[in-house]
């Protein structure tokens, strides 16, 4: 099984505004870092040619979506917290609003299958509504692939 993660961030200003310029400048190097991290599998890209293009979606203006698949918890953890990505994360308040509800969700997905954005958003809703479980969880309340594998709830959530 592979580990999918989706996270959302509410931008303080439009993505092409001066307030977000320093964040946009970090997109290319940080995405390149993700792509070259051992255990990286896939991430949702808006454009193959423009590395600063953010994902276009119907889930609201000013909402930035980051969606990727990894081989393991360790691989994702090492990118998020044990790489220069951490410094960008520390600066999040400069660019994004603070939200009280969970903004990142993870779940296990069969190798070779790329989950849809709609599924990811459903998983996030599930985490927000019902708290962490095998089909939608967080680093703090993590579920192993074996715990999540044969649960009917996980199969249901993929539909």
């Amino acid at each position: 099984m592979h580990l999918a993660q989706l996270n959302v961030a509410h931008m303080r200003a439009p993505v092409d505004s001066p307030e977000l310029a320093e964040f946009v400048a970090l997109l290319e190097p940080v995405n390149a870092l993700a792509d070259s991290t051992p255990g990286f599998v896939w991430r949702l890209k808006e454009s193959e040619s423009d590395p600063t293009a953010t994902v276009v979606h119907d889930y609201g203006d000013h909402l930035l979506i980051n969606f990727s698949v990894w081989e393991s918890r360790e691989a994702l953890w090492n990118f998020v917290y044990r790489s220069p990505h951490l410094d960008a994360l520390r600066r999040r308040r400069e660019w994004f609003l603070r939200v009280a509800e969970p903004y990142m969700v993870m779940w296990w997905t069969p190798e070779g299958e790329i989950p849809s954005l709609a599924e990811g958003m459903r998983r996030l809703e599930r985490l927000r509504a019902g708290g962490p479980g095998p089909e939608a969880f967080t680093f703090q309340d993590f579920y192993d692939a074996s715990e999540a594998a044969h649960l009917p709830a996980a199969a249901e959530a993929r539909k």
Partner: protein, 217 residues
Amino acid sequence: MGDLEALALLHDPVRRSLYDVVASRGGDVGRGEAADAAGVSRTLAGHHLDRLVEAGLLESGFRAPERKGPGSGRPAKVYRRAGGERSVSLPPRDYVTLASVLAAVVDELGAEEAAERAARAEGARIGGRHRGEPVERVLAGRGYEPFAEGGRVRLRNCPFHVAAEERPLLVCSMNLALCQGLLEGLGEEPGRARLDPRPGECCVVVEGAPVSKTNED
């Protein structure tokens, strides 16, 4: 084996010295290499290293021989420091639970900046008590296990590991602020401390070559 029994094994000077050798390398150490550094025979080193593995202080593994095929020999047994931690406090104390609760409060309040300010002030107080001492010695005394690499001081150990695994963003930010405060208290440039996290180490590095050692690797 309980924490007290495991730690009591280190009372033996040979075992203590072998443990220090393995821990200070920050990676896999072969039996012969550990024996040479500790100044004991391979057989004796092997015996004590295996005792330390049984106690959960070290972990062992095998390093594949460099040459493949017949005649290349068996894989060499190697040792590294165990991932888990052992501690004994008499009378019993539990600061980790308290730290975890306080970190949850900071998160709920969105009080990260206040937490960083408090960490910086605490670092400055600690540094002030060691004014004029080299920063790497002070960091070593606080369990960071500094080592020189590429003209900067890297830190092998995270003293706040359990809390950092639970809330890395908050704890690493507070740790950086603490180290910057520490430099300030020592009378050094606080900006020398910055984040450069990599797997298995502390997230902070201190720019500038250490004064006590000149070797780099």
